[in-house]
Symmetry: D2
Subunit: 136 residues, 4 copies
C-alpha cells in the first residue's frame, strides 16, 4: 500500500537559488506520512490527542535528484518500509506531477512515544493495522 | 527602553526573488520581542511554563521599506508601544547593520491568555515591570 | 470576484502553544493570492519569468480572531481590494472548513517591480484584467 | 578544524509536541556550514555571487538523540568530512549549550554547481583551502 498526496510549491518554499529549499522536503514527507495514515483509515491527530501516542522522528534521510521549482505540483508517495515493536520506518518518493520526474527520495524512522516523550508501545488496534498495511 | 538584537539572514529565509521572504520579518519581530523581555529581566519561557501566561498575537502589521538579503546582519529594535489591561503592543524597526538602512517597521498587538487560550490578567509582578519599562 | 483555495494545516506550521504559528498566515495569504491570479486566467510564475514583472509586498496586516489547529482544513478567500498605477492591494479571509469560523483576516499591499526590484508599470494585458476583476 | 556557532531556539521553530520541529535542524546545519566557511576566511555569499559557484545539497541525514526546546541555546559544530572533485561532505553535531547534551548529529553531501545548476569544479583558490582545512 502506497499513500499518494499532492503539494503545490509555495513561494515561501523557494530560496535564492530559484529552487525549493532542501529542508522543505522533510515537511512534504510529513504531509505524505499523515495522508498515508489517513488513507489507512486512521487519524494521526486523534492518535496524539486521544491516545497520547506520538511518533517522534529519530532519523531522517533525503537524497536530492532534481530540484522542484516554484508553482510546480509535486506528488509524494509514501509507504511503510518497516514496523516492529515501537519503531516505524516510512519511505518516500517525491515526483514532479506531469512528467513523473523523480525529485527526491528518502526515509524517516520514528519511535512511538507517549506524552512525556518516553518510548511506548503503539496501541494494539493501530499496531495491527500498521502490520497489515506493511504486508500488503 | 528599546531592546536590541541581531539576526544573520539564513539561506532558508530567502526566496527566489533573491531577498528575504516577507513572512520571516514576523519571526524576527518575535526574536526582538523575546530579547526585549529578557533585557527587562524577565524570561518569556518561564512566564509560559511557570505562570501559564502567554501573550497571543491578535494583530500584526509590517511595512516593507527595503529588502534584506542573504547573509546580511540585521538589527531588530523593539519597544513596548502600549500596555493596558491584558493588551500589549510592541513596535519594531529592522535595520541593516553597518549602514543602518531601515528595512521594515511594524507592530504586533497581543492579548494575555492563560493555558486554555482564554483572556487573562498578567501576573502583577510582570505587569508592574511592563508599565515601568513603557514609561521610560 | 473572490478566489478560494484550501490548505490543510501541517505539523510544521504549529508551535508549542498547540496552534498555528502566526507568521504562517502570511504564507497562506500568498497561496490564496496566487490561486486568485490563476483563477483570473493568469499565471504568476510566467508573469515573473516571462515578463520580469513581480509584485513585491510593501505592507502586510493580519488580524487574528481564532486559532487554526493541526490537521484543520482552512479556506482562504482572496479578492483584489485596490488596483491603481503600480499598487495592488489584496484582502483575505481565512475560515475553518466545515463550520466556517473566521480565523484571520488581513490584507497585503504590493508594488509592481521589475527584475531589479525597481517600481514598474504592470504590462497592459495584465492591468486590464486586474481592473476588470476588481470591478466585478 | 571544527566550526562552531550558536543558535537560540525561536518560538517559530517549535511544534505542538513542545519541541523543535525536526526539519529545522537542516536549517541549523546550514547556519553551521556557512559559519565554518566564514571561519575558513571565505564568504559563501561571494562564492555564489562573484564566482557563480554554489554547493547544492545532494543528500542530507539527521539522527535525533534528544529534543531541543524553546529558548534553548544550542551549539552547532561543523567539520568537512570529505572533499574530492566536486563533492563536499559536511558533518554536524548539535549540542545543548550549558550541559553539552548531544541533540542531533548528521551530515550533508553537496555537489559544486554553476549558476545553471550544472556540476562544476570548485575554483582552485577555494579548493586548496578546503583540502587544507580537511587535513587539519
Amino acid at each position: 500500500m502506497t499513500g499518494e498526496t499532492r503539494v503545490r510549491v509555495r513561494y515561501a518554499e523557494t530560496d535564492q537559488m530559484g529552487v525549493v529549499y532542501h529542508a522543505n522536503y522533510l515537511i512534504w514527507f510529513e504531509v505524505g506520512r499523515v495522508e498515508l495514515i489517513r488513507q489507512m483509515g486512521l487519524d494521526y491527530k486523534s492518535m496524539e490527542t486521544e491516545d497520547g501516542c506520538s511518533i517522534a522522528v529519530v532519523e531522517a534521510n533525503v537524497r536530492y535528484k532534481a530540484p522542484a521549482r516554484y508553482d510546480d505540483e509535486v506528488v509524494v508517495r509514501t509507504r511503510i518500509a518497516e514496523f516492529r515493536g515501537s519503531i516505524i520506518k516510512f519511505a518516500y518518493q517525491v515526483f514532479r506531477a506531469g512528467d513523473e520526474l523523480l525529485l527526491t527520495e528518502g526515509f524517516t524512522s520514528h519511535l512511538v512515544v507517549d506524552k512525556t516523550m518516553k518510548r511506548a508501545r503503539m496501541p494494539e488496534r493501530y499496531a495491527e493495522l500498521f502490520r497489515r498495511v506493511m504486508a500488503e
